[in-house]
Each structure stands twice: as C-alpha cells, then as structure tokens.
C-alpha cells in the first residue's frame, strides 16, 4: 500500500470517527425553563420580591438620571438648600454599592448611615425606610445586586453653607428622626397594618404629604397634613383632612383606582403624583393597593372642619361672570356645564376636594399648563387636558379658577390674578 493510499484511508477513518463523535456527543438544546419552574426557584422568587419592593419604594425615580442608565444616579435633586446629586446604587465595586453587604444596606435603610459611616441627607427617605423589615431590606438588596453594574462616579452635592456640613445632620436627626421598624397595631386588621406598613415605609408618602419646614424637617404631629412640595411648586394635599385629599368619604375602589390606575371617578393624578403612579404604584399588586386604601381611608381625623366663612367666599359679580364665560367656552365641553365631568376620563370639578381645598395652586397650574395623567398598565391611553397659559390672561385664569371653586355648591374661596401670575412665570414640571 502506497503512503498516499494509507493517508487517504486514514483521513476517511478520521472523518467517520469525527462524524460518529459529533452525533454521539453533540450538545443538545438546553432544557426549557418553563414559567412554573422559574417561579418555584427560591432565588428567583427572592429577586422578584426585591424588584417588587424596590418598585413600591420608587427607588428608580430618584436614582436614575433622565436618559441615564437605570439606578446609576447622577440626577440633580434641587432642594431649598442647593442641589443634591443622587448616588449610583448599581452593584459596581468602585462607583456603586457593589462592595456593600446586606448588613451595610440594612443599616443605611434603617438608620440613614452610609457604609463609610457618613450621615445621609434626608432627601433619602430613611425616616420612612427605617420602618421596613430586615427581610424586605434583604430582598431589595439582593435585587439591586442583580442589576447590571454601571461604572459612573457620584457627583459631589452642591449645597450652600452651612447645609454642606454633614455634622449639622446630627441636629436634624435629633429633631426629626425616629429609628425603628413598623410596629403593627394589634387593634387593627392585618390588611390595615399591611397598608400602614407600605404607606409609612416604602411608599414614603410623608415626604410630600407632610409639610416640610425651613430646616427640611417635618414633625410627627403634622404627619400627612399636606404642604407645598419644595422646588416643584405643586401642593401635596393633606391626607388627614376630608377638606383636602382626605379619603374618608371615598370608596375603596376609587382610592385603588386613583393610586394604581391614575384616574378614578372622584379625581385624577397629575404632576408629581403622576410620576409616583407611573414609576411605582401601577406595579403594586391589587392586594397591596387595597391594603393601602383601607389604611388611607382611616387617616382623616378632621371630618367636621368648618368650611370657609361666607365672608371669605365672597366673589365680585364681574369676576363670577368672567369665570362663567371662560368656563362655558373652554371647559364645559369636557367637564360639563354643571362640572360633572365625564369620569373617569375627564374628572368632575363639582364636589372635587382638590378643587376646593385651601391652596388653589394645583388648579391654577392645571389651567395654565394642562396635563396628562400617567399612562399605566390599567390605563395605557389616558385623556389629556391642554394648556391655557397662552389663551387666557391672569385675570381670566383667576376668574375661571374662582368660578370652579365656588360654583355648584363647591365651598372654596376666590383666587387673585396675582396668584395666577406667580405660577405663570414658573416653568412647568
């Protein structure tokens, strides 16, 4: 046999062996992971839970910059004391929280003390997050560790003196911070306690719905009493007064719709609350939203608060007539001649607490800038209201807002053109 023939036979044998090996040892398709298999895996369940809780806590809203990578921080947060720049909470070892342990994370959530021992500014709602259980903190930690790390250095805060001295936070903490997990009220149902836990803790509702004083603090006794949101120029109404956003007279269905869908037959969310619904509450489960509603409904304590005096409600006939005319031309088409609206798409104005409450800021802003409710899973195509800033004068804005505050047995008070003008000069946000 010639060398050439031997090589040829050898080559053929090799090819045959290779084909056999390929057929025998070829890697098959990976076993399909079915949905049920995924849900029963303990790690997956824990991470899903952490993601759900992180959404309920709306971490993403502050910790993601516009156009930025998720959780990588960098967003400027304007405060009356200067700009804060929100930190990177992705698990990057150098620039994020990659080297934090679950203990570090819990200490930060529970006490407002960072991993390196520095005191955190209360723009981070640790006064609310302190109520979260260790188990929930661990789940959020695990979820954050599972997101893609982003290498992005934190930007230094730009606070004015003396607010740039972190030592001052010791004083703030002594005045306004009380550490401690949520303690269930044994006199209330499990559902009520679940709602209270979510509203007071992860939901950090009091960050806006409790007035903030000149030191950036809010006292426990004023909890949920409402206040202007610093730097956003929206009024966060009181949740404890049925004259404002107190939900004492609302059905559970209307409350859950407002929180989770963004619209209800009683009213609609706009502005900063639209952001909360868009980023956070629309993802909260039906069960949890209902628990929140049950708790919120029990908050109002001041049911019998007297309405404004008839003296305070006095409106000049000229203003009333201007208001009526503007209303008939611009508003009645959607909100109805009698202010009934076409709920839930076009909210009612008659009997709407957010129209008649003491602060007219939100109503004036809606007339000036219009607004769209958030597009949510249960209302992905919301109806919007157009801006009227370029069509109506300050006097007409004031007249029409006055009109809707006193017409149809609404018991609000008149608004001045100066109030309309002050809000017109601000950029909408």
């Amino acid at each position: 046999m010639s060398i050439g023939l031997r090589i040829a036979i050898g080559a053929v044998v090799l090819v045959i062996l290779a084909v056999i090996a390929w057929t025998l040892f070829r890697p098959g398709m990976l076993p399909q992971t079915t949905a049920t298999a995924t849900a029963t895996n303990a790690t997956t369940q824990f991470l899903n839970r952490g993601e759900y809780l992180a959404r309920a806590g709306d971490c993403v809203a502050c910790h993601t910059a516009p156009e930025g990578r998720e959780f990588a921080g960098g967003r400027a947060m304007p405060t009356p004391f200067g700009n804060l720049y929100v930190p990177n909470i992705t698990p990057d070892d150098e620039t994020g929280i990659g080297k934090w342990s679950a203990d570090d994370f819990y200490r930060m959530m529970h006490t407002g003390i960072s991993r390196d021992g520095s005191l955190m500014y209360p723009a981070m709602p640790f006064a609310s997050y302190t109520k979260i259980t260790r188990e929930d903190s661990d789940a959020i930690y695990a979820y954050l560790m599972s997101v893609p790390p982003v290498q992005q250095k934190n930007r230094a805060h730009a606070l004015r003196f003396p607010f740039n001295k972190r030592d001052l936070l010791l004083g703030w903490r002594a005045l306004y911070f009380e550490e401690g997990e949520y303690v269930p009220d044994p006199k209330q149902s499990a559902q009520w306690n679940r709602g209270a836990y979510l509203v007071q803790g992860l939901g950090h509702c009091s960050m806006c719905h409790t007035a903030i004083n000149r030191l950036g603090g809010s006292s426990e006794s004023d909890a949920f009493e409402g206040g202007m949101i610093p730097n956003q120029n929206w009024y966060a109404p009181s949740l404890t007064s049925n004259r404002e956003a107190g939900l004492g007279h609302w059905s559970i269905k209307d409350i859950t719709d407002l929180l989770q869908v963004g619209i209800s037959t009683r009213g609609t969310v706009y502005g900063p609350m639209a952001e909360v619904v868009y980023n956070s509450l629309q993802y909260v489960s039906d069960e949890d939203v209902e628990a929140m509603a049950v708790y919120l409904k029990t908050l109002p304590k001041r049911d019998s608060e007297p309405p404004p005096t008839s003296q305070a409600r006095l409106v000049s006939p000229n203003v009333m007539e201007t208001g009526r005319k503007v209303y008939a031309t611009q508003c009645a088409m959607c909100h109805g001649a009698e202010g009934g609206g076409q709920p839930p798409q076009f909210p009612p104005l008659a009997g709407n607490q957010s129209i008649t409450m003491a602060s007219p800021v939100n109503s004036i802003r809606m007339v000036l800038n219009g607004g769209y409710p958030p597009g949510t899973r249960k209302n992905p195509r919301p109806h919007g209201m157009p801006p009227f800033a370029h069509i109506l004068t300050d006097a007409e804005v004031a007249a029409v807002v006055t009109y809707i505050r006193v017409a149809w047995e609404n018991n609000g008070t008149p608004v001045t053109p100066t109030q309309a003008n002050e809000l017109r000069t601000l950029l909408p946000e």
Binding site: Y278, P386, P387, H390, P428
Partner: protein, 202 residues
Amino acid sequence: MEARVQGCVTCHGQSGQGTLSGAFPRIAGKPAGYLYNQLIAFRDGTRQYPPMNYLVAYLPDAYLREMAEYYAKQRPPFETKDEPAPDPKIEARGRDIATAGDTSKGIPPCVACHGARLTGMEPGIPGLVGLRSNYIAAQLTRWRVGSRHAAEPDCMKRIASRLSEPDIAAVSGWLARQEAPKDASPESPNLVRMPLACGSQR
C-alpha cells in the same frame, strides 16, 4: 382618539394645523416616525421645551406611537400665508439654498431630503410646508448651537452648523412662503439617494 388628544389642541389646533401664526407648529401630516421621535425626545428630555416635556413625561412608548400615527394621518387645510416679501437678493439666496444647496459650503438643498414638494419623507423627515419662518429659523438655530439633536448620524446638525445666521433667515423665509401642494403626503423612502446619512431614516 380625538378625545384623547384634546391635550394638544389649544396649541397645535383641533386637527394639528398649528396655531398662533405658526408659533405652535403644524404637526398634521408629518411622517409618523418623525412625530414619534419628537414625542420620545420631549418625554426623555433630549429635546427641550418645558410645556411639552411636562405634558408627555409619563406616557408610554406605545401610546406616543399612536398619537404620532393619529396626527400623521390628519390633512387639515393650510392657512393662507402672510409672510412678508423680502429683499430680492435675500429671496434669491433662500431659494438657492432650498432648491440647489451651496456646494462651496457643503450644504445640500433642502428639497433633496424634505422632498420636491417640501412635504417630507417617510419615515423620519418632517415636511416643511405650512411652517412659519420664525419656527424654522428657531429650529435651525437650535440645531446649530447644539440644543436640538436627532439620531446619529445627525445630518441636520452637519447642515445647520454650515449655515450662517443670514443664511438661516433667508432659507426660513423662502420655505415659509411656499404654497402647499394639493397632496401634502410625505414622499416614500428610497425613491432618491440622500446626500447625507441620517440616523432618523434608519
């Protein structure tokens, strides 16, 4: 859908024809892809105009797409023009830039991409008919100074940065004086080869 977009009508008109002498631009009939890109850019803050940024801040992609498609289908009549007639020299310069470009500066003619009838091109190039000169000039200036962008490669940035201020005034004035054609639909893509690569056509 008409009821859902009432949030747009006090500025852009009941059918998207624009209002206030074009200070609020015509959006009717512009390609849906272009309108969608603008809505996304307003929502995410990459195109800055606070009243728009505020209005669309919390609306999902699919709904913005639907709004864009709705206005792309509208064909309201065009307003009659009352743009002042300029000095003939400026008029000629504007017409040259729009119809022939300026090869010495590397400026392609507007009609090469925005269409011979200036009605734009599917999917991402807007029509220019029905816009007022002040609006066109403001947008070209924003592109030139870098406060307005499009998807990379940003062809409009390359062009606007080659236009001088007098050029912008001349071409905006000429464009705003053109009568709208009977059929204001955007041209189909790929009928012509574009002189510059544009990210919004991909």
